[in-house]
């Protein structure tokens, strides 16, 4: 068949498809309700067939370019991402995320070790040699910590500011740290190792110093509520980063490219889960932890309950049901 005849036969079809696709870009909702939307997959596949024919028969660029453009436009519409479903977010948080954490348990254990060991060592060292606090922190920082956790404060854990202000600050600060920890894992895991260990030393240092000078009461009362979510989330973000870096080092029985894509997918999901946990932590930290006038039983009891909840969720969540849907 000569080119002119081909165009004469199908040209009107192409024009109508082009018209519909252009309308779709301007008014997506209304255009998708038209009857032509039902025929779109079929007419798109016909178009692909015609493009293949045109190429095979060596038609000129006037036809092949025109069809190619139309096909590219149609491909974007036919294979557009599905609309997000909130149900899947809930399923992910309840089942998918704990499962993912367990599936990466080696990296998670390593991350936990990298974080908790330096923290514990620093904490204990500062009990034996309180003057070491000055090598970790400057005197100005120490003075600020002491002001934040002064037992005579009405609001513990902060020197000024309202609950809402602190909520915003905690979200911005903690989530950014978690995301950076994950991303910096791409440098062969070095970034994640550094952030985890450094945060371990810092947190252990603050805890150790305040305990050593006798401000331990307000400090532990403050952190026990949100520590479950916050510390676990930091460890998970660090583990996600380690996992990414280790994949770059040891891709296993895969080429590095596809292995990295798979690891990035896992890591991003872990980072998103950590984000949800940190939101929760920031909420507790701003609105619950800062209340000084609660009895110790309530503070430490709720803290222990939250730790049990988080660990139980990570340990048992998503077990039992095969699909998790």
């Amino acid at each position: 068949m000569k080119q002119e005849r081909f165009v004469a036969m199908y040209g009107s079809e192409w024009d109508s498809l082009q018209f519909w696709l252009n309308a779709l870009e301007r008014q997506p909702k209304r255009t998708l309700r038209q009857e032509q939307a039902l025929d779109f997959p079929q007419s798109y596949r016909r178009l692909c067939h015609q493009l293949a024919l045109a190429r095979g028969r060596g038609y000129s660029r006037e036809v092949t370019d025109r069809l190619q453009r139309l096909v590219q436009q149609g491909h974007r519409v036919l294979y557009r991402p599905p609309a997000p479903r909130w149900h899947r977010v809930a399923v992910f948080l309840l089942a998918g995320f704990p499962r993912l954490v367990r599936s990466q348990w080696r990296c998670m254990a390593a991350a936990a070790g990298l974080f908790y060991l330096p923290a514990l060592v620093t904490l204990l060292l500062l009990q034996l040699h309180p003057e070491l606090a000055h090598t970790v922190f400057s005197s100005m920082q120490l003075a600020q910590f002491e002001k934040m956790y002064d037992p005579s404060n009405a609001h513990i854990g902060r020197s000024s500011g309202t609950d809402l202000q602190m909520f915003g600050f905690y979200v911005m600060n903690n989530v950014s740290i978690a995301f950076r920890t994950f991303a910096s894992g791409l440098f062969f895991g070095v970034g994640a190792v550094y952030v985890l260990a450094a945060n371990g030393v810092l947190i252990g240092g603050v805890a150790g110093h305040l305990t050593a000078i006798g401000y331990g009461g307000p400090f532990w009362r403050f952190v026990v509520g949100h520590s479950a979510f916050e510390l676990s989330a930091l460890v998970i973000a660090g583990g996600a980063g380690l996992q990414l870096g280790l994949t770059l080092l040891m891709p296993g029985r895969q080429r590095r490219g596809p292995a990295l894509v798979a690891a990035g997918w896992v890591g991003a999901q872990l980072a998103l889960g950590a984000f949800a946990m940190l939101l929760m932590a920031a909420f507790i930290e701003a609105y619950w932890s800062s209340i000084a006038a609660l009895p110790d039983v309530l503070k430490f009891g709720s803290g222990a309950l939250l730790w049990l909840l988080v660990l139980g969720w990570l340990w048992r969540g998503g077990r039992g049901r095969g699909d998790g849907a």
Binding site: M1, K2, Q3, E4, R5, Y44, R45, C48, H49, L51, A52, G58, S60, R61, E62, T64, D65, R66, Q68, R69, V71, Q72, Q73, H75, R76, Y79, R80, P81, P84, G161, T162, D163, L164, Q165, F167, G168, F169, V171, M172, V175, S176, F179, R180, F182, A183, S184, L186, F187, L244, G257, L260, V261, A263, G264, W265, G267, A268, Q269, A271, L272
Partner: protein, 226 residues
């Protein structure tokens, strides 16, 4: 072809052509996005400042959203284009050429942290220069790439003249070359057209403008015009 086009085969058995976007338009798009975000932040600070200290918290939340969520939400909801990318005619696509989806977009935007090091996008720039499809590290791990969204204009029509059958039977690639010459003749100078047409002296038996006219007439015949 020596260029940045990446061909991707679709389930329908034809190939899509994605034209990778280099560092310069992407940097411009990033700058535009930065300006947009700064503008939004400054505007939002006006009502927030009226709320007193609590407004600071809202400002932090907004800053967080602009820093981490803006790109992901824009890319997924606006068909792979943040506002800056839309202005520059760029689009983020998945490895299979479809508009970017949630997870790949989250990956590429979280790993922006790595690409942004050291200084301003040092790693990212080096990576886009090395990678054949101009992807930065985040794109490689996410399996995405940034392409030019605007399609190239389609070929122009062959000028319509009375068709003349070629004196000999031409092979398929010879026919294609002849038709392509006729399609492009409008973009070439007269001298260049004649120079090219003179190469086909044995076919046309004429020279210069006569040869050009003859070739276009042959092309008309090959296209099936009367």
């Amino acid at each position: 072809m020596l260029d940045t086009v990446r061909e991707i085969e679709t389930p329908e058995g034809i190939s899509l052509r994605l034209r990778a976007a280099g560092a310069v338009p992407r940097a411009q798009a990033w700058m535009l996005d930065l300006l947009v975000r700064l503008g939004v932040f400054v505007l939002a600070m006006i009502p927030f400042s009226l709320l007193g200290v609590g407004g600071n918290g809202l400002a932090m939340l907004l800053l967080f959203a602009l820093m981490w969520a803006y790109s992901v939400v824009c890319e997924v909801w606006l068909g792979g284009q943040t506002l800056g990318k839309r202005a520059l005619g760029l689009r983020v696509v998945n490895a299979d050429g479809t508009p970017v989806t949630w997870m790949p977009s989250v990956v590429r935007n979280l790993l922006r942290v790595v690409d942004a090091l050291p200084g301003v996008y040092g790693v990212g720039l080096a990576c886009t220069l090395i990678d054949p499809h101009a992807r930065r590290l985040g794109d490689i791990v996410a399996g995405t790439m940034v392409v030019h969204a605007a399609e190239l204009p389609a070929g122009t029509q062959v000028p319509k003249v009375a068709a003349i059958a070629p004196p000999v039977v031409l092979a398929a690639d010879e026919q294609a070359a002849l038709v392509e010459f006729a399609e492009r003749s409008g973009q070439l100078t007269l001298q260049r057209q004649e120079e090219l047409a003179n190469l086909l002296m044995p076919l046309t038996g004429r020279r210069d403008s006569g040869a050009v006219a003859q070739l276009i007439a042959h092309a008309n015949w090959l296209l099936g015009r009367a």
